[in-house]
Symmetry: C3
Subunit: 214 residues, 3 copies
């Protein structure tokens, strides 16, 4: 179940990377590269920093398959995905929460302190998006639009608190993921942290509750 | 022999990084930094992701020497290199094939699955160029001009296929390198995937069969 | 003592990252992310390349605390910091020397050769600044303004030489740090390597002896 959600999250993150690639008129290979890096980039950075190598995304190929599927869907059926963008955003919020919770849990297993655990939650959840934006020369979204990463940070804090209170890891992990996803979902519905007008054009797909421009 | 080709590939990749540095009017240090990162950057990322540390380029200093030589040659004799650019492109194609094959072989040794092996081939061969372009704020060449990375991907697939068919590793490695280099060489000669006119000015040295602008 | 200086260096590097974030009008989270990455980014890259994981900055949380403090100070009291910019630059020179010397020592412990040791000195001292500049889409300062990284390289060479002459590691480390910091301090006072006029606007805080623009 957790594993299936994790794969869905990876797939949806890959969608956002692939859309960004199309927006910048990359060829199919560029779109695929962005999809893969957005889908697994946060986890790759986490694993390199923790020394858990080869990185998890390379030990279980289904993550890479999910990324390639995401790229393929956008390459062959972008308008269809854009039409269902609301569902993509819901899946993205689920992925965000799960990535944050899994990142926090992994950091705790590797003995990191509280600040490190919270940072790893945010890095796992947002690192892929930072790589994606940096490669197409956009200012990384999390640097100037706070709520996406903020939800991940809060998810990390929830995990940390429940873990310190001796709740079981599965419970802490689930609660952290749900809180983070719920916050993100609430922000989407209420349009919290609306991007400033003059920056709307460079708003990355996953920070907007509108379909990305194609 | 393989080792000598590997060093030559590193040297030629460093040349392309150093030329890019000159194009952006960096000082000698900036040119050297770009040369080193282009020469060994792909291998560094591969080794960090696989956990083969300290990274290979730091265990055998001849790779760094090759990079410094590449930087030095461009700093003191750029016009001479530009005049012999055809030879540089041939050496670059050889380096591309070798890097792809060695990356694939190393990934297989670390137990990666087929997708991971092919991706590591492409990462090893093109990662340095991505770092180079990102640092000077150009859209990474492989994101919008496909054939360079495509040749590396195909090289990785060839290695994978021959390995699965139980050919010896040296044979699989050699065949993968030759196929990748030959494809790249053919693309150069036939001008496959000619860059679009409006992007020609930002065409990175190694994707063009013309001398880079100075 | 060494440890305290290291924390102060991290704090000051974080200040420069946070100022850069304010210059680009990032929100509080973006400012904090830049502060953390500038403060510990060089060390993170060094540790990933050497395979010393989890990276040191995550094993001892005081480094992260120093970064968060740096971000906090700039968020709540930027004008006060800017007024005392001369002191910040002195602390920055101390941090540069210390980071370079510690990077060189760690590289030598991991068995790197002379070129690798010198490069790790420069990477540790300047890597955070490169990440900072790349994320806000500025040409990394060390690529076009030489003296900052040059001082770090010279610090690495001093460590290497004293180490080869069988001086004790603490002595080599201290001497390398002092030489590097002194060179940087001298360059500040004498305005060595004044940025070219047309690039002054993108001069990063720590390369200028003037307060950063806000």
């Amino acid at each position: 179940m957790l594993y299936a959600l994790d794969l869905i999250g990876t797939f949806v993150f890959a969608l956002s990377g692939a859309f960004k690639g199309r927006k910048h008129e990359l060829d199919w290979l560029g779109v695929t590269v962005l999809a893969v890096l957005t889908g697994v980039g946060g986890g790759l950075m986490r694993d390199m920093l923790l020394g858990d190598t080869p990185a998890a995304a390379f030990r279980d190929e289904w993550y890479l398959v999910a990324c390639l599927l995401g790229a393929g869907v956008v390459i062959v059926a972008a308008p269809g995905v854009a039409k269902r963008w609301n569902r993509v955003m819901i899946a993205d919020a689920v992925g965000l929460g799960l990535f944050a919770a899994l990142g926090a849990a992994k950091a705790a297993e590797h003995g990191l302190g509280p600040i490190g655990v919270v940072m790893m939650a945010a890095l796992t959840a947002t690192g892929g998006g930072v790589i994606r934006d940096a490669l197409v020369r956009e200012l990384p979204a999390i640097l100037h639009k706070g709520f996406y990463a903020t939800a991940a940070l809060i998810g990390g804090i929830v995990f940390l608190g429940l873990n310190a209170l001796d709740f079981s890891e599965p419970f802490a992990l689930g609660a952290a993921a749900i809180v983070c996803s719920a916050l993100r979902f609430y922000a989407l519905v209420k349009n919290v942290n609306l991007p400033k007008a003059e920056r709307l054009n460079q708003a990355p797909a996953e920070l907007s509750n509108q379909p990305p421009e194609k």
